[in-house]
Symmetry: C2
Subunit: 230 residues, 2 copies
DNA sequence: CGACGGCTTGATGATCATCAAATAGGGTGG
DNA sequence: CCACCCTATTTGATGATCATCAAGCCGTCG
């Protein structure tokens, strides 16, 4: 890794999990998505399972009156589209240009049946999604606006830092509205909390979509994480 | 089963999934739990996976300052304690007297390796938990107090009704504080919303822990579910 | 340059959390 | 069986947080 200047963006820590679906079959297909292009809708038949190859996938649910809850952001290496009953129970679409590797659900299930290690991988995928989901429950149900935004930044920051780093600079991968719908709040509140963090000297905002965390420790405290790594 | 009077409690619709872990091995153990007795804590090694046999298991996370988020309630037939990394990432304890069937995680994984249908069951468990979880995200992130409480009652009511039933009577399996922590609100708000629903004629509260839903349709509308079964 | 979308900032109000007190319910022991 | 106590729940009053409405700003792109 090369020397870092104050404002240089970090690159994400590589994900060892990436690419594991390769080699399971030749029936794969690389799908290119443009910004906001949907991968599937709520209620669609879950004929395919996807691995994010490039870019970002946003999963969300929408209430009849338009309120939206962003369920999560999926990065390269992540699996999207798992379903227990063959029906998708949420929408997923690209948050910018993206590529995904698709795999027929039926075929993957068949492969899983023959190769237990593939089944195990799928199970790990599902259960680790469950784990991450639990932290977000706490965020949505317990935390105040300040803690929500701090937690979100910390979550991102962790993707770019190694243990013990004091500061880091990275780009926000999504718009304010996506952040707001992810945190169960509004764009105005997100904006206000960001400026509050900037004023407090915890972060800098060189550009609207670039965050420089000056004090990871302080950010962790504001996020109210019980994580013992802090 | 005996005849039903107006105020008689319904019994839950039987769960076909129940008991599937039976017969996978002799290494099972039936654990009896008394009220509030913990099954495991956040951070414990996930040496066992459990199937609820009787009673109710409450899973939750707690922030350093005491705030609690109830992740979900597990009923007979449900699986508790799945983990992707061998560590529990939440606490689970009994909400009243309960029995669970425990099974060593390592052994279950070995069995899953030999018998793909068991692996598939586990995968279905995990992914269906993921599905339910998504609806709750919407509840926590988007819905107002009224909608939260209505959604909760509806969720319970569905366990006791068949498609098309107009009314149903059932017992609330948990205290107000558990409901509040599940819905990301407070006991006072839950109480107020319940009386509001009673005043509106949507429900009755013969006892503090017994709910009689008079109008499922109205309840569904108040819950803002996009569910097409209504 | 002008227009547009996204973001910030300000002002106001509603919802809901908090604090406080009264009531109901359930269980125990006399 | 009743009185009592402890906990859970309801109800009320108040205030803080945050959503909403509105306006101005910034960066981008045609």
């Amino acid at each position: 890794m090369h020397a870092q200047t104050a404002t240089q963006l970090s690159t994400p820590v590589p994900d060892q999990q990436a690419g594991w679906m390769e080699g399971t079959s030749h029936a794969q297909h690389l799908v290119k998505l443009s910004h906001n292009e949907p991968l599937f809708y709520d209620g669609d038949e879950a004929d395919f399972i996807y691995e994010v190859v490039e870019g970002l996938i946003i999963s969300y649910n929408i209430l009849p009156d338009g309120r939206r809850q962003v369920l999560g952001f999926s990065y390269p290496g992540d699996i999207v589209g798992l379903s227990h009953d063959g029906i998708h129970h949420h929408c997923s679409s690209a948050g910018g240009a993206a590529k995904v590797r698709s795999m027929p659900r039926g075929m993957l299930m068949r492969v899983a049946r023959e190769r237990p290690e593939i089944a195990a991988k799928l199970l790990v995928c599902a259960t680790s999604q469950l784990s991450r989901v639990q932290d977000h429950f706490v965020l949505l149900g317990c935390k105040c606006a300040q803690e929500k935004v701090a937690s979100f930044l910390l979550e991102l920051a962790k993707r770019y830092t190694n243990e013990g780093d004091r500061s880091v600079t990275f780009e926000l991968p999504v718009k304010r509205s996506d952040i707001a719908d992810y945190l169960g709040t509004t764009i105005e509140t997100v904006s206000r909390q960001l400026t509050k963090l900037r004023t407090a000297g915890v972060i800098d905002l060189p550009q609207t979509s670039v965050v420089h965390v000056r004090d990871m420790i302080a950010l962790g405290q504001l996020a109210e994480v019980d994580d013992s790594t802090f």
